[in-house]
Symmetry: C2
Subunit: 342 residues, 2 copies
DNA sequence: TTGAAAGCGCTAACAA
DNA sequence: TTGTTAGCGCTTTCAA
């Protein structure tokens, strides 16, 4: 129960003024001092077990060396890699991060942004951005650097680092097309998320380019990115008269649900119906028939976002790219086969 | 780019002293004031968009309303549920959390504890505890509340919230025994972690109680909790003269590796060799043959740890249970069958 | 019930 | 090169 050592304590011990101690301990100002003093102070600080009180220094410098990270849900395997990527570069630069889970709930988002603001974060990385940018405008108005990752906010000017959703859908679609599929359905994600919107749009425009004439009922709308919704939407798709031979899903969990529903109906994937996913979450290779999917670079997204944010923090007037798009990759496994002739 | 409103601003606006404003905004002191003043101040604060500067208040009160969370690796699916459980109860109580990843590296652990200490966290939840308690002693000596979760530190007095590792092993072992297995091997986890140690000890004592006479080579030691090590250890087990009919693995990922290696050798699970895991990570039900495992309550662990920590923060002299053990549950799937008669 | 004043620990002008 | 001084925004005695 020893109480923390302060600069004052070290000053008393070494016989110099606190400001001298402060300078000796600050790498940017130590060169103002004689090496002997610096040495003496540092040694004393070390021996006394000094630890800088960042609250106090933040109060003076207006920098907390902390950034805020908004994510929808840390238990969703999509996000931890982003967190790691972020922390890798932030930690290096001396920043810590406060992570909050919004559950994709608007009121939670507002409340949690406030939590971050109260704690004086130097910047925000938003992996939980909704399409409503009102809340983020508040942040921008404070002059606080912010970047969204994985998702973008409508047509706002907030910089974002995202996956190439369009290319991913194109890749999956062409893969199905080349396997011989013409009647391809799409299970879209929740339309309040930019990723879902982008993927649905890509699906529409690419199928058109391919000359596929799909009924509107070829698109099923999921309410959540989960297995249950994948299952429900697949049911919808299979119940109608128009019969698809393949389902391109907006993410892996929807695809897993799709495969489950296909099986439940006594059909099989890929023999009766081919399925593709998006994201390439862990363990997909172990789950039969092996989901063919689009691999995204989540950790890279985190790293790039951190670098962008750091740049914005260092120079508030820095010009940063409005959108950084990361390449995606088709991962072929067992869930796609030529359509059955029928 | 508006700069933050301070108490001073509100004081000027409402014509009262800053200390009055402070009191009006503090639920514990507002009753000293006339309701009219409170009302007037609060209204002004609201309209002006006041947001408390927690750095400043922390400096005075020595409370940051922030707790630190040490985890080995957020991308390991075992930990996010703990984080959620923690945050659920901490957020409720007005606390935010700083999460750091130690990668189970001793020097990172020290450095990151220091990061948390510099930021003046009010308490620490350590889900990355190693067996070396030296680093945590520093924390305790500061009088800073700390609790370990999932793991315990040797025979220290630091409170912990853990799963019932012993019971879990007993459950899995008896399940195998009842299926007819007598030659049961164990793939142990890294012996620097308390969970691994506890599970290995339980394996030893329970097999003894059951009267199984196992050679020491029935125990393979993994260096990491991952698939590769599971595979390597299984190779070791299968290469020797003593032939096991079942492998009890210290966690699910080791078990997944074990199954892979069994298959690679042209054998099959559970027909030739039965396998059990520990933790019940997501998607296990979708991976054939369906790993029989022990389900642990990670989110509950997080919640309980948070409640414990809060109690310790509120009352530094509070007596808290040294160990809180959560019940575990056997989840039967397809990876266990009677041994082949041979 | 409100105000005045001090100070948390630190940094940064300014002075010497 | 070092010391002096002021003050970041807040809370909390003490006094009125």
């Amino acid at each position: 129960m020893t109480k923390p050592i302060t600069l004052k304590d070290i000053a008393r011990e070494t016989g110099v003024h606190v400001s001298t101690v402060s300078r000796a301990l600050d790498n940017d100002s130590r060169h103002f001092l004689t090496p002997e003093v610096v040495e003496r102070v540092r040694k004393a600080a070390d021996e006394m077990g000094y630890r800088r009180n960042r609250m106090a220094s933040s109060l003076r410098t207006k920098k907390t060396m902390t950034i805020g990270l908004l994510i929808p849900d840390i238990t969703n395997t999509l996000f931890p890699p982003i967190v790691r990527g972020l922390e890798r570069v932030l930690e290096e630069a001396g920043y810590a991060s406060i992570i909050v889970n919004t559950d994709d709930l608007a009121d939670r988002e507002s409340r949690l942004i406030n939590v971050l603001l109260e704690r004086g974060v130097d910047g925000i990385v938003d992996a939980a951005a909704s399409q409503d940018e009102a809340r983020l405008k508040i942040v921008e108005k404070q002059g606080l650097p912010i970047v969204t990752v994985n998702r973008q906010v409508g047509n706002s000017s907030i910089p974002s680092v995202v996956n190439d959703d369009t290319e991913g859908v194109r890749l999956a679609l062409h893969h199905l097309y080349e396997a011989g599929h013409r009647k391809i359905a799409h299970i879209a994600g929740p339309q309040k998320l930019s990723t879902s919107i982008a993927r649905l749009e890509a699906f529409n425009s690419e199928t058109k380019k391919l000359g596929l004439d799909l009924p509107t009922s070829a698109m099923a709308m999921s309410a959540h990115f989960d297995e249950d919704e994948g299952q429900r939407c697949t049911g919808e798709l299979l119940d109608q008269d128009w019969k698809c031979t393949a389902i391109l899903c907006a993410n892996d969990r929807l695809a897993l649900g799709a495969i489950a529903e296909i099986r439940r109906r006594g059909l099989s994937c890929p023999e009766d119906i081919s399925v593709t996913g998006f994201n390439d979450i862990p363990f997909l290779d172990l789950i039969p028939p092996g989901l063919t999917t689009i691999r995204v670079q989540q950790e890279a997204i985190g790293r790039l976002a951190a670098e962008l944010l750091l740049k914005m923090i260092k120079d508030k007037t820095a010009t940063v790219p409005r959108t950084t798009i990361l390449p995606v990759q088709l991962i072929e496994r067992g869930s796609v086969a030529p359509p059955r002739i029928r």
